[in-house]
Amino acid sequence: MSDLQTIDVSLGPQHPSTHGVFRMNVTLDGETITRLQPVFGYLHRNHEKIAEGNSWLAAMPYTDRLDYICPLTNNWAYALAVEKLAGIEVAERAEFLRVITAELTRLQNHVAFLGFILGDMGAWGTALMYAFREREKILDLFESLTGARMMCNYMRFGGCRCDLPPGWLDATRKLVDGFPAFLDEMEALLNGNEILLARLQGVAPLSAARAINGGLSGPVLRASGVDYDIRKADGYGIYSRFKFRVPRGVVGDCFDRFMLRVLEARESVEILKQAIAGIPDGPVVNPKAKQRGLRPPAGEAYGRIEGPKGELGFYLISDGGDKPFRFRIRPPSLINLTLLEELCLGTKLADVMVILGSIDIVLGEVDR
Protein backbone atom coordinates (compact mmCIF):
# COMPACT_ATOMS: atom_id res chain seq x y z
CA MET A 1 0.00 0.00 0.00
CA SER A 2 2.72 2.40 0.97
CA ASP A 3 4.47 1.72 -2.34
CA LEU A 4 1.53 3.24 -4.15
CA GLN A 5 1.78 6.34 -2.00
CA THR A 6 5.46 7.15 -2.32
CA ILE A 7 6.77 9.18 -5.20
CA ASP A 8 10.34 9.90 -6.25
CA VAL A 9 11.29 13.49 -6.90
CA SER A 10 14.54 14.74 -8.33
CA LEU A 11 15.30 18.07 -6.67
CA GLY A 12 17.80 19.81 -8.88
CA PRO A 13 20.38 19.97 -10.36
CA GLN A 14 18.83 23.15 -11.72
CA HIS A 15 16.89 24.53 -8.81
CA PRO A 16 16.93 28.05 -7.38
CA SER A 17 17.35 26.81 -3.82
CA THR A 18 20.13 24.29 -4.25
CA HIS A 19 22.81 26.99 -4.27
CA GLY A 20 24.28 25.73 -7.52
CA VAL A 21 24.14 22.49 -9.43
CA PHE A 22 23.32 20.07 -6.66
CA ARG A 23 20.77 17.31 -6.90
CA MET A 24 18.84 15.38 -4.31
CA ASN A 25 16.89 12.25 -5.15
CA VAL A 26 14.03 12.38 -2.70
CA THR A 27 11.36 9.81 -1.94
CA LEU A 28 8.17 11.30 -0.58
CA ASP A 29 5.32 9.76 1.32
CA GLY A 30 2.75 12.47 0.90
CA GLU A 31 4.88 15.48 1.73
CA THR A 32 7.15 13.68 4.19
CA ILE A 33 10.71 12.73 3.26
CA THR A 34 11.37 9.00 3.59
CA ARG A 35 14.66 8.86 1.71
CA LEU A 36 17.12 11.46 0.44
CA GLN A 37 20.19 10.78 -1.63
CA PRO A 38 22.47 13.68 -2.54
CA VAL A 39 24.06 13.51 -6.00
CA PHE A 40 27.34 15.34 -6.47
CA GLY A 41 29.77 16.01 -9.24
CA TYR A 42 28.03 18.41 -11.62
CA LEU A 43 30.75 20.99 -10.97
CA HIS A 44 33.61 18.52 -10.64
CA ARG A 45 36.81 19.52 -12.45
CA ASN A 46 39.32 17.56 -10.32
CA HIS A 47 41.00 20.51 -8.72
CA GLU A 48 43.38 18.18 -6.90
CA LYS A 49 44.71 16.65 -10.11
CA ILE A 50 45.17 20.08 -11.71
CA ALA A 51 47.09 21.27 -8.67
CA GLU A 52 49.33 18.20 -8.77
CA GLY A 53 50.31 19.11 -12.33
CA ASN A 54 51.29 22.70 -11.54
CA SER A 55 53.85 24.44 -9.37
CA TRP A 56 53.18 25.13 -5.70
CA LEU A 57 52.44 28.80 -6.32
CA ALA A 58 50.19 28.12 -9.31
CA ALA A 59 47.67 26.38 -7.07
CA MET A 60 47.09 29.61 -5.14
CA PRO A 61 44.77 31.43 -7.58
CA TYR A 62 42.94 28.19 -8.15
CA THR A 63 41.95 27.97 -4.47
CA ASP A 64 39.80 31.08 -5.03
CA ARG A 65 37.48 28.90 -7.09
CA LEU A 66 36.80 26.46 -4.27
CA ASP A 67 34.33 28.35 -2.13
CA TYR A 68 34.02 31.36 -4.38
CA ILE A 69 32.12 33.33 -1.75
CA CYS A 70 35.18 33.22 0.53
CA PRO A 71 38.35 33.37 -1.60
CA LEU A 72 40.59 34.91 1.04
CA THR A 73 40.11 32.20 3.66
CA ASN A 74 40.78 29.59 0.97
CA ASN A 75 44.04 31.36 0.16
CA TRP A 76 44.97 31.39 3.80
CA ALA A 77 44.32 27.69 4.32
CA TYR A 78 46.56 26.75 1.41
CA ALA A 79 49.29 29.22 2.38
CA LEU A 80 49.16 27.89 5.96
CA ALA A 81 49.58 24.30 4.84
CA VAL A 82 52.54 25.15 2.60
CA GLU A 83 54.11 27.22 5.38
CA LYS A 84 53.81 24.24 7.72
CA LEU A 85 55.24 21.93 5.09
CA ALA A 86 58.24 24.09 4.25
CA GLY A 87 58.71 25.75 7.65
CA ILE A 88 58.16 29.32 6.42
CA GLU A 89 57.76 32.18 8.88
CA VAL A 90 55.04 34.74 8.18
CA ALA A 91 55.72 38.48 8.27
CA GLU A 92 54.11 40.22 11.24
CA ARG A 93 52.13 42.78 9.25
CA ALA A 94 50.91 40.05 6.94
CA GLU A 95 49.49 38.14 9.91
CA PHE A 96 47.32 41.15 10.69
CA LEU A 97 46.34 41.58 7.05
CA ARG A 98 45.33 37.93 6.97
CA VAL A 99 43.17 38.27 10.06
CA ILE A 100 41.53 41.43 8.75
CA THR A 101 40.77 40.01 5.31
CA ALA A 102 39.65 36.66 6.72
CA GLU A 103 37.26 38.26 9.19
CA LEU A 104 35.87 40.53 6.49
CA THR A 105 35.34 37.38 4.45
CA ARG A 106 33.52 35.80 7.35
CA LEU A 107 31.33 38.88 7.70
CA GLN A 108 30.30 38.93 4.07
CA ASN A 109 29.77 35.15 3.99
CA HIS A 110 27.48 35.23 7.00
CA VAL A 111 25.64 38.25 5.66
CA ALA A 112 25.12 36.55 2.32
CA PHE A 113 23.94 33.47 4.23
CA LEU A 114 21.21 35.53 5.90
CA GLY A 115 20.00 36.67 2.51
CA PHE A 116 20.17 33.21 0.93
CA ILE A 117 18.29 31.39 3.67
CA LEU A 118 15.50 33.93 3.51
CA GLY A 119 15.35 33.27 -0.20
CA ASP A 120 15.13 29.53 0.52
CA MET A 121 12.13 30.23 2.73
CA GLY A 122 10.38 32.09 -0.05
CA ALA A 123 11.14 35.65 1.04
CA TRP A 124 12.79 36.18 -2.30
CA GLY A 125 14.39 39.55 -2.78
CA THR A 126 14.12 41.95 0.13
CA ALA A 127 16.38 40.28 2.67
CA LEU A 128 18.83 39.26 -0.05
CA MET A 129 19.05 42.84 -1.31
CA TYR A 130 19.63 44.17 2.20
CA ALA A 131 22.35 41.58 2.71
CA PHE A 132 23.99 42.13 -0.65
CA ARG A 133 24.02 45.89 -0.18
CA GLU A 134 26.31 45.33 2.80
CA ARG A 135 28.27 42.53 1.16
CA GLU A 136 28.94 44.78 -1.81
CA LYS A 137 30.75 47.28 0.42
CA ILE A 138 33.09 44.54 1.61
CA LEU A 139 33.64 43.32 -1.94
CA ASP A 140 34.58 46.89 -2.88
CA LEU A 141 37.23 46.78 -0.18
CA PHE A 142 38.52 43.48 -1.57
CA GLU A 143 38.64 44.97 -5.03
CA SER A 144 40.66 47.99 -3.99
CA LEU A 145 43.07 45.75 -2.05
CA THR A 146 43.51 42.79 -4.36
CA GLY A 147 42.17 43.93 -7.70
CA ALA A 148 39.32 41.44 -7.75
CA ARG A 149 36.00 41.22 -5.99
CA MET A 150 35.86 37.47 -5.72
CA MET A 151 38.95 35.90 -7.29
CA CYS A 152 41.35 37.65 -4.95
CA ASN A 153 44.52 35.52 -5.13
CA TYR A 154 45.92 37.61 -2.30
CA MET A 155 47.98 35.40 0.02
CA ARG A 156 51.50 34.27 -0.65
CA PHE A 157 53.78 31.85 1.18
CA GLY A 158 55.07 33.81 4.17
CA GLY A 159 52.75 36.77 3.75
CA CYS A 160 50.47 38.58 1.34
CA ARG A 161 50.84 39.77 -2.23
CA CYS A 162 50.64 43.53 -1.74
CA ASP A 163 50.31 46.17 0.93
CA LEU A 164 47.18 48.18 1.67
CA PRO A 165 46.29 51.00 -0.72
CA PRO A 166 46.11 54.49 0.87
CA GLY A 167 42.95 55.10 2.85
CA TRP A 168 41.96 51.42 2.90
CA LEU A 169 42.30 51.00 6.64
CA ASP A 170 40.15 54.06 7.30
CA ALA A 171 37.45 52.83 4.95
CA THR A 172 37.52 49.44 6.65
CA ARG A 173 37.33 51.01 10.09
CA LYS A 174 34.30 53.00 9.01
CA LEU A 175 32.61 49.88 7.62
CA VAL A 176 33.39 47.84 10.72
CA ASP A 177 32.11 50.55 13.05
CA GLY A 178 28.87 50.77 11.11
CA PHE A 179 28.39 47.01 10.84
CA PRO A 180 26.68 46.29 14.18
CA ALA A 181 23.99 48.81 13.21
CA PHE A 182 23.31 46.79 10.06
CA LEU A 183 23.17 43.56 12.06
CA ASP A 184 20.71 45.21 14.46
CA GLU A 185 18.61 46.27 11.50
CA MET A 186 18.70 42.77 10.03
CA GLU A 187 17.81 41.17 13.36
CA ALA A 188 14.94 43.59 13.90
CA LEU A 189 13.70 42.77 10.44
CA LEU A 190 13.95 39.01 10.80
CA ASN A 191 13.97 37.70 14.32
CA GLY A 192 10.54 38.79 15.38
CA ASN A 193 8.99 37.47 12.20
CA GLU A 194 6.51 34.74 13.02
CA ILE A 195 6.84 32.99 9.69
CA LEU A 196 10.61 32.85 10.00
CA LEU A 197 10.39 31.43 13.51
CA ALA A 198 7.82 28.86 12.43
CA ARG A 199 9.98 27.77 9.53
CA LEU A 200 13.24 27.56 11.53
CA GLN A 201 12.52 26.71 15.16
CA GLY A 202 12.51 23.02 15.94
CA VAL A 203 13.31 22.03 12.37
CA ALA A 204 15.99 19.31 12.07
CA PRO A 205 17.61 19.43 15.50
CA LEU A 206 21.00 17.73 15.78
CA SER A 207 22.71 16.43 18.91
CA ALA A 208 26.29 17.36 19.71
CA ALA A 209 27.55 13.76 19.69
CA ARG A 210 26.03 13.10 16.28
CA ALA A 211 27.42 16.34 14.86
CA ILE A 212 30.94 15.44 16.01
CA ASN A 213 30.73 11.89 14.68
CA GLY A 214 29.38 13.19 11.38
CA GLY A 215 32.42 15.41 10.99
CA LEU A 216 30.44 18.64 10.87
CA SER A 217 32.51 21.72 11.49
CA GLY A 218 32.18 25.45 11.75
CA PRO A 219 28.88 27.14 12.57
CA VAL A 220 26.90 23.94 12.00
CA LEU A 221 28.91 22.12 14.66
CA ARG A 222 28.75 24.97 17.14
CA ALA A 223 25.01 25.37 16.65
CA SER A 224 24.70 21.89 18.17
CA GLY A 225 26.36 23.17 21.32
CA VAL A 226 29.94 22.05 20.72
CA ASP A 227 32.51 24.59 21.86
CA TYR A 228 35.00 24.05 19.07
CA ASP A 229 36.47 26.86 17.05
CA ILE A 230 39.77 26.20 15.28
CA ARG A 231 40.74 29.82 15.82
CA LYS A 232 40.72 28.98 19.55
CA ALA A 233 41.72 25.31 19.36
CA ASP A 234 44.76 25.73 17.10
CA GLY A 235 45.31 29.46 17.57
CA TYR A 236 46.75 29.55 14.04
CA GLY A 237 48.08 32.83 12.73
CA ILE A 238 47.79 35.35 15.54
CA TYR A 239 44.26 34.51 16.69
CA SER A 240 45.50 33.71 20.19
CA ARG A 241 46.21 37.44 20.66
CA PHE A 242 42.63 38.56 20.15
CA LYS A 243 39.78 38.52 22.60
CA PHE A 244 36.58 37.09 21.23
CA ARG A 245 33.85 34.71 22.27
CA VAL A 246 32.70 31.54 20.57
CA PRO A 247 28.90 31.52 20.28
CA ARG A 248 27.15 28.19 20.71
CA GLY A 249 23.67 26.90 20.01
CA VAL A 250 21.54 24.82 22.34
CA VAL A 251 19.40 22.39 20.38
CA GLY A 252 21.08 22.56 17.00
CA ASP A 253 17.95 23.25 14.97
CA CYS A 254 17.79 25.49 11.93
CA PHE A 255 17.12 28.55 14.07
CA ASP A 256 20.31 27.94 16.09
CA ARG A 257 22.28 27.59 12.89
CA PHE A 258 20.72 30.83 11.64
CA MET A 259 21.31 32.84 14.82
CA LEU A 260 24.83 31.53 15.21
CA ARG A 261 25.86 33.31 12.02
CA VAL A 262 24.53 36.61 13.35
CA LEU A 263 26.37 36.17 16.66
CA GLU A 264 29.55 35.10 14.90
CA ALA A 265 29.43 38.16 12.68
CA ARG A 266 29.30 40.30 15.83
CA GLU A 267 32.40 38.56 17.19
CA SER A 268 34.16 39.06 13.86
CA VAL A 269 33.50 42.78 14.24
CA GLU A 270 35.25 42.65 17.62
CA ILE A 271 38.28 40.87 16.14
CA LEU A 272 38.40 43.34 13.27
CA LYS A 273 38.41 46.31 15.65
CA GLN A 274 41.35 44.85 17.59
CA ALA A 275 43.26 43.91 14.44
CA ILE A 276 42.80 47.30 12.81
CA ALA A 277 43.96 49.04 15.99
CA GLY A 278 47.01 46.82 16.38
CA ILE A 279 48.38 46.47 12.84
CA PRO A 280 52.13 47.24 12.77
CA ASP A 281 54.27 48.59 9.95
CA GLY A 282 56.69 46.39 8.11
CA PRO A 283 57.02 44.13 5.11
CA VAL A 284 53.92 42.24 3.99
CA VAL A 285 55.79 39.13 2.95
CA ASN A 286 58.71 37.29 4.47
CA PRO A 287 61.60 38.24 2.15
CA LYS A 288 63.26 34.85 2.69
CA ALA A 289 60.20 32.94 1.53
CA LYS A 290 60.53 31.62 -1.98
CA GLN A 291 57.42 31.97 -4.16
CA ARG A 292 58.19 30.89 -7.71
CA GLY A 293 60.24 27.75 -7.88
CA LEU A 294 59.46 26.77 -4.31
CA ARG A 295 60.61 23.23 -3.55
CA PRO A 296 59.53 22.24 -0.06
CA PRO A 297 61.59 19.45 1.50
CA ALA A 298 60.13 15.96 1.21
CA GLY A 299 57.44 15.36 3.78
CA GLU A 300 53.81 16.05 4.43
CA ALA A 301 51.67 18.50 6.34
CA TYR A 302 48.02 19.01 7.16
CA GLY A 303 47.05 22.63 7.71
CA ARG A 304 43.56 23.79 8.54
CA ILE A 305 41.74 27.00 9.35
CA GLU A 306 38.33 27.96 10.59
CA GLY A 307 36.70 28.98 7.34
CA PRO A 308 33.33 30.71 7.37
CA LYS A 309 31.71 27.40 6.44
CA GLY A 310 33.79 25.14 8.64
CA GLU A 311 37.14 23.45 8.82
CA LEU A 312 38.97 24.04 5.57
CA GLY A 313 42.11 21.92 5.43
CA PHE A 314 44.85 21.16 2.96
CA TYR A 315 46.83 17.93 3.13
CA LEU A 316 50.01 18.26 1.11
CA ILE A 317 52.74 15.74 0.37
CA SER A 318 55.98 16.93 -1.17
CA ASP A 319 58.56 14.66 -2.75
CA GLY A 320 61.03 17.53 -2.83
CA GLY A 321 59.98 18.55 -6.33
CA ASP A 322 58.51 21.72 -7.76
CA LYS A 323 54.98 20.25 -7.84
CA PRO A 324 52.87 18.82 -5.04
CA PHE A 325 53.00 15.03 -4.99
CA ARG A 326 49.62 14.95 -3.30
CA PHE A 327 47.27 17.89 -2.94
CA ARG A 328 44.16 17.14 -0.95
CA ILE A 329 41.48 19.59 0.06
CA ARG A 330 39.28 18.92 3.05
CA PRO A 331 36.09 20.61 1.88
CA PRO A 332 33.79 21.71 4.74
CA SER A 333 30.82 22.12 2.40
CA LEU A 334 30.93 18.48 1.28
CA ILE A 335 31.51 16.98 4.71
CA ASN A 336 28.82 19.14 6.32
CA LEU A 337 26.38 17.40 3.96
CA THR A 338 27.20 13.97 5.44
CA LEU A 339 24.24 14.13 7.78
CA LEU A 340 21.86 15.80 5.32
CA GLU A 341 19.70 12.69 4.90
CA GLU A 342 19.54 12.15 8.66
CA LEU A 343 18.46 15.74 9.18
CA CYS A 344 15.81 15.65 6.48
CA LEU A 345 14.13 12.30 7.22
CA GLY A 346 10.64 12.85 8.53
CA THR A 347 10.50 16.52 7.64
CA LYS A 348 8.35 18.05 4.93
CA LEU A 349 9.55 18.69 1.41
CA ALA A 350 9.55 22.46 1.90
CA ASP A 351 11.87 22.05 4.93
CA VAL A 352 14.58 20.40 2.84
CA MET A 353 15.48 23.70 1.24
CA VAL A 354 15.68 25.42 4.61
CA ILE A 355 17.82 22.63 6.07
CA LEU A 356 20.15 22.72 3.08
CA GLY A 357 20.27 26.49 3.34
CA SER A 358 21.05 26.35 7.05
CA ILE A 359 24.10 24.15 6.38
CA ASP A 360 25.41 26.79 3.96
CA ILE A 361 27.22 25.10 1.09
CA VAL A 362 28.94 26.34 -2.03
CA LEU A 363 29.08 23.86 -4.88
CA GLY A 364 32.48 25.00 -6.07
CA GLU A 365 33.84 23.47 -2.90
CA VAL A 366 31.54 20.45 -2.70
CA ASP A 367 32.48 19.16 -6.15
CA ARG A 368 35.95 20.67 -6.59
Binding site: E48, I212, E300
Partner: protein, 203 residues
Protein backbone atom coordinates in the same frame (compact mmCIF):
# COMPACT_ATOMS: atom_id res chain seq x y z
CA UNK B 1 52.58 10.46 19.12
CA UNK B 2 54.84 7.91 20.82
CA UNK B 3 52.50 7.97 23.82
CA UNK B 4 49.57 7.07 21.57
CA UNK B 5 51.61 4.28 20.01
CA UNK B 6 52.49 2.86 23.42
CA UNK B 7 48.87 3.05 24.54
CA UNK B 8 47.76 1.09 21.47
CA UNK B 9 50.51 -1.48 21.93
CA UNK B 10 49.68 -1.89 25.61
CA UNK B 11 45.99 -2.46 24.90
CA UNK B 12 46.41 -4.52 21.74
CA UNK B 13 49.75 -6.31 21.78
CA UNK B 14 49.04 -8.20 18.57
CA UNK B 15 48.07 -5.13 16.52
CA UNK B 16 50.44 -4.21 13.73
CA UNK B 17 51.13 -0.52 14.32
CA UNK B 18 54.28 1.37 13.50
CA UNK B 19 55.45 4.96 13.61
CA UNK B 20 56.07 6.63 10.24
CA UNK B 21 58.50 9.49 10.50
CA UNK B 22 57.71 12.75 8.70
CA UNK B 23 60.85 14.75 7.88
CA UNK B 24 58.89 18.00 7.32
CA UNK B 25 59.46 20.83 9.85
CA UNK B 26 55.82 20.59 10.97
CA UNK B 27 56.63 17.25 12.62
CA UNK B 28 53.26 15.62 12.01
CA UNK B 29 54.34 12.00 12.32
CA UNK B 30 51.88 9.28 11.56
CA UNK B 31 50.89 5.78 12.62
CA UNK B 32 50.69 3.02 10.04
CA UNK B 33 48.19 0.33 10.88
CA UNK B 34 47.91 -3.12 9.33
CA UNK B 35 44.69 -3.59 7.41
CA UNK B 36 43.42 -6.40 9.63
CA UNK B 37 43.75 -4.25 12.75
CA UNK B 38 42.53 -0.91 11.36
CA UNK B 39 38.96 -1.15 12.58
CA UNK B 40 39.92 -2.28 16.10
CA UNK B 41 42.59 0.42 16.40
CA UNK B 42 40.13 3.08 15.16
CA UNK B 43 37.55 2.04 17.73
CA UNK B 44 40.20 2.09 20.45
CA UNK B 45 41.30 5.59 19.40
CA UNK B 46 37.74 6.88 19.42
CA UNK B 47 36.49 5.24 22.61
CA UNK B 48 39.59 5.20 24.81
CA UNK B 49 41.82 8.02 23.61
CA UNK B 50 39.07 10.50 22.77
CA UNK B 51 39.74 10.94 19.04
CA UNK B 52 36.10 11.65 18.33
CA UNK B 53 36.51 13.82 15.22
CA UNK B 54 37.73 12.29 11.97
CA UNK B 55 38.55 15.40 10.03
CA UNK B 56 40.10 14.37 6.76
CA UNK B 57 40.27 11.18 4.73
CA UNK B 58 42.64 11.20 1.82
CA UNK B 59 43.72 8.65 -0.75
CA UNK B 60 47.34 8.62 -1.88
CA UNK B 61 48.75 6.75 -4.85
CA UNK B 62 52.32 5.53 -4.48
CA UNK B 63 53.26 4.16 -7.90
CA UNK B 64 55.93 1.56 -8.46
CA UNK B 65 59.34 3.15 -8.09
CA UNK B 66 62.62 2.14 -9.59
CA UNK B 67 65.53 2.14 -7.16
CA UNK B 68 69.10 1.99 -8.40
CA UNK B 69 71.53 0.04 -6.32
CA UNK B 70 75.25 0.15 -6.84
CA UNK B 71 77.30 -2.76 -5.64
CA UNK B 72 81.05 -2.76 -5.52
CA UNK B 73 82.75 -6.09 -5.90
CA UNK B 74 86.39 -7.01 -6.03
CA UNK B 75 87.15 -9.05 -9.10
CA UNK B 76 90.24 -10.22 -10.82
CA UNK B 77 90.31 -8.83 -14.32
CA UNK B 78 93.25 -9.79 -16.54
CA UNK B 79 95.23 -10.89 -13.53
CA UNK B 80 94.83 -7.53 -11.77
CA UNK B 81 92.47 -7.14 -8.83
CA UNK B 82 90.01 -4.31 -9.49
CA UNK B 83 86.93 -2.87 -7.94
CA UNK B 84 84.03 -3.38 -10.31
CA UNK B 85 80.82 -1.41 -9.87
CA UNK B 86 77.59 -3.02 -10.97
CA UNK B 87 74.32 -1.09 -11.00
CA UNK B 88 71.11 -3.00 -10.67
CA UNK B 89 67.64 -1.59 -10.91
CA UNK B 90 65.06 -2.88 -8.55
CA UNK B 91 61.31 -2.19 -8.55
CA UNK B 92 59.77 -1.11 -5.28
CA UNK B 93 56.18 -2.24 -5.66
CA UNK B 94 53.57 0.49 -5.48
CA UNK B 95 50.48 0.60 -3.34
CA UNK B 96 47.54 2.81 -2.48
CA UNK B 97 47.20 4.40 0.90
CA UNK B 98 44.38 5.97 2.90
CA UNK B 99 45.33 8.71 5.33
CA UNK B 100 42.99 9.70 8.17
CA UNK B 101 43.50 12.90 10.13
CA UNK B 102 41.93 12.59 13.57
CA UNK B 103 41.30 15.26 16.15
CA UNK B 104 39.96 15.16 19.65
CA UNK B 105 37.35 17.79 20.37
CA UNK B 106 36.90 16.68 23.99
CA UNK B 107 40.64 16.79 24.76
CA UNK B 108 41.51 19.45 22.18
CA UNK B 109 44.40 17.52 20.66
CA UNK B 110 45.46 16.45 17.21
CA UNK B 111 46.10 15.86 14.47
CA UNK B 112 46.72 12.16 14.75
CA UNK B 113 47.55 10.81 11.32
CA UNK B 114 46.54 7.23 10.64
CA UNK B 115 47.65 5.41 7.50
CA UNK B 116 46.32 2.19 6.03
CA UNK B 117 47.87 0.59 2.95
CA UNK B 118 46.51 -1.69 0.31
CA UNK B 119 48.44 -4.72 -0.88
CA UNK B 120 49.17 -3.37 -4.36
CA UNK B 121 47.63 -1.07 -6.98
CA UNK B 122 45.71 -3.54 -9.13
CA UNK B 123 44.22 -6.63 -7.54
CA UNK B 124 44.51 -6.28 -3.80
CA UNK B 125 43.05 -2.79 -3.29
CA UNK B 126 40.77 -3.38 -0.30
CA UNK B 127 41.03 -1.74 3.09
CA UNK B 128 38.47 -1.83 5.89
CA UNK B 129 36.09 1.10 5.93
CA UNK B 130 36.18 3.29 9.03
CA UNK B 131 32.75 4.77 8.32
CA UNK B 132 31.17 2.61 11.06
CA UNK B 133 33.52 4.33 13.51
CA UNK B 134 33.34 7.88 12.16
CA UNK B 135 30.37 8.74 10.00
CA UNK B 136 32.34 11.66 8.57
CA UNK B 137 34.45 9.22 6.56
CA UNK B 138 31.39 8.29 4.49
CA UNK B 139 31.62 10.70 1.55
CA UNK B 140 35.39 10.96 1.76
CA UNK B 141 35.90 7.21 1.44
CA UNK B 142 33.52 7.22 -1.47
CA UNK B 143 35.69 9.91 -3.01
CA UNK B 144 38.84 7.86 -2.46
CA UNK B 145 37.09 4.91 -4.10
CA UNK B 146 35.94 7.10 -6.97
CA UNK B 147 39.22 8.84 -7.74
CA UNK B 148 41.81 6.27 -6.59
CA UNK B 149 40.02 2.95 -6.87
CA UNK B 150 40.51 1.96 -3.24
CA UNK B 151 37.81 -0.49 -2.15
CA UNK B 152 36.47 0.01 1.36
CA UNK B 153 35.14 -3.22 2.89
CA UNK B 154 32.13 -2.59 5.07
CA UNK B 155 31.27 0.81 3.63
CA UNK B 156 27.47 1.22 3.67
CA UNK B 157 27.16 2.77 0.22
CA UNK B 158 30.29 2.46 -1.89
CA UNK B 159 29.50 4.16 -5.19
CA UNK B 160 31.20 6.76 -7.34
CA UNK B 161 30.56 10.20 -5.92
CA UNK B 162 32.09 12.82 -8.23
CA UNK B 163 32.56 10.99 -11.53
CA UNK B 164 29.59 9.47 -13.30
CA UNK B 165 28.72 5.83 -12.74
CA UNK B 166 29.78 4.64 -16.21
CA UNK B 167 33.26 6.10 -15.86
CA UNK B 168 35.78 3.29 -15.81
CA UNK B 169 39.12 4.77 -14.77
CA UNK B 170 40.53 6.34 -11.59
CA UNK B 171 41.61 9.88 -12.42
CA UNK B 172 43.73 10.66 -9.36
CA UNK B 173 46.12 7.79 -10.01
CA UNK B 174 49.54 8.91 -11.11
CA UNK B 175 49.45 6.84 -14.30
CA UNK B 176 46.03 8.07 -15.43
CA UNK B 177 46.00 9.34 -19.00
CA UNK B 178 43.16 11.77 -19.75
CA UNK B 179 41.30 11.16 -23.01
CA UNK B 180 41.84 13.52 -25.95
CA UNK B 181 38.18 14.40 -26.12
CA UNK B 182 36.28 14.23 -22.86
CA UNK B 183 32.92 14.66 -24.48
CA UNK B 184 33.31 12.14 -27.29
CA UNK B 185 30.38 9.89 -27.79
CA UNK B 186 29.50 8.03 -30.98
CA UNK B 187 26.80 9.71 -33.04
CA UNK B 188 25.15 8.93 -36.41
CA UNK B 189 27.28 11.72 -37.85
CA UNK B 190 30.34 9.51 -37.55
CA UNK B 191 29.03 7.21 -40.28
CA UNK B 192 28.23 10.11 -42.58
CA UNK B 193 31.59 11.73 -41.94
CA UNK B 194 33.34 8.44 -42.70
CA UNK B 195 31.41 8.11 -45.98
CA UNK B 196 32.29 11.67 -46.99
CA UNK B 197 35.91 11.07 -46.13
CA UNK B 198 36.01 7.86 -48.17
CA UNK B 199 34.42 9.62 -51.16
CA UNK B 200 36.79 12.60 -51.09
CA UNK B 201 39.78 10.31 -50.76
CA UNK B 202 38.60 8.20 -53.72
CA UNK B 203 38.11 11.27 -55.91
Amino acid sequence: MTGTLEAIRAAMPSAGVELVNNPSPCGQHSLRVERKDALAVAEFLRDRLGYDFCSNVSGVDWPTRKVKETNTKKEVVDGVEKEVKTTTERDVPGFLEVVYHLYSISENSGPLTLRVRTGDREADVSVPSLTPVWKSADFQEREAFDLFGIRFDGHPDLRRILMWDEFADFPMRKDYVPPDDFEYEPTPHDEILAKVKARTEAA
